[in-house]
């Protein structure tokens, strides 16, 4: 099991680095999809089967298809020549590395974590999530539908040609 964790983590890190450093937008999308599939494996490893299925459906099924569709629509599927200057790129890598070290140092101090409830293996199943979602979190769930409608209307307003 720990081997599976390291395998999935290695796939995720390599694919994330390739998303950043690969030049072709289509390749970026493919690597991001691979990264998301490895993340679904992590969810299954964490006993969150519902989230794994929703993650596959929403991210690789909807969001990445939307990305691919926009790339094809705007005809961007060749490597784009513009890049930032070398100073900016080097400083971006240095900033990312320093940010990683700072967060790592900050989280190393906080490892006394005790479980709040006794271990229960079926909180990640549909019944466990559904009880929490439609009991305690019913109002935010309904409000999120308003968020979706406003996002849809906003996307249409942006996409419309102005007269």
């Amino acid at each position: 099991m720990i081997f599976l964790f390291y395998l999935l983590s290695a796939i995720m890190i390599v694919c994330a680095l390739l998303v950043v450093f690969s030049r072709n937008p289509i390749n970026n999308v493919i690597y991001l999809i691979l990264c998301f599939i490895a993340m679904a494996g992590h969810y299954i490893l964490l006993n969150a089967q519902f989230l794994a299925v929703v993650h596959i459906i929403v991210y690789t099924g909807a969001i990445m298809v939307l990305f691919l569709f926009v790339i094809m629509l705007l005809n961007l599927n060749k490597a784009i020549i513009f890049r930032k200057s070398t100073v900016t790129r080097v400083s971006a890598v240095v900033t990312g590395g320093i940010f990683f070290l700072v967060l790592l140092a900050a989280t190393r101090q906080t490892f006394e974590i005790h479980a709040k409830y006794p271990f229960n293996s079926d909180i990640g199943l549909v019944s466990g999530i559904g009880k929490a979602l439609f009991g305690e979190f019913l109002l935010p769930f309904e409000i999120s539908s308003i968020l979706f409608i406003s996002a849809m209307v906003g996307a249409m307003m942006f996409g419309k040609k102005d007269e």
């Binding site: 937008p25 006993n47 519902f50 926009v70 971006a92 990312g96 979190f137 906003g154």
Partner: protein, 109 residues
């Protein structure tokens, strides 16, 4: 099912913290690194997902479903954000015929 559910206790929680910190840093590095607006949006998705992974890990270790419900809400917000962001990209391509983020540099001031 039983051995699968006992598996999460074999993996220490620190590993998940390391993994999501690394993913978040890679995403932030990508946002600073790229000039292609679509690539920047993809790096934002990477950062969203590292947070999702950490919330799920803590939720599974504490056996509290609230964290996974929050991940569900974050996915909803990410879907809405991507729809609006990609329509902004389409509008940008239509108006200035490029998706170079440096063309938007007047937004800095």
């Amino acid at each position: 099912m039983k051995e699968l559910s006992s598996a999460i206790q074999l993996i220490p929680l620190e590993n998940y913290i390391f993994l999501s910190v690394a993913l978040f840093s890679i995403g932030m590095m990508g946002v600073l690194f790229r000039r292609n607006t679509i690539a920047i949006l993809m790096c934002l998705e990477l950062m969203f997902n590292s947070v999702n992974l950490l919330l799920t890990a803590f939720s599974a270790y504490h056996s509290d479903p609230s964290g996974q419900v929050f991940v569900f809400f974050i996915m909803i917000v990410a879907a809405a954000e991507v729809a609006v962001g990609l329509s902004i990209v389409v509008m940008m391509k239509r108006n200035v015929d490029s998706i170079d983020i440096n063309l938007l540099n007047r937004l800095k001031w």
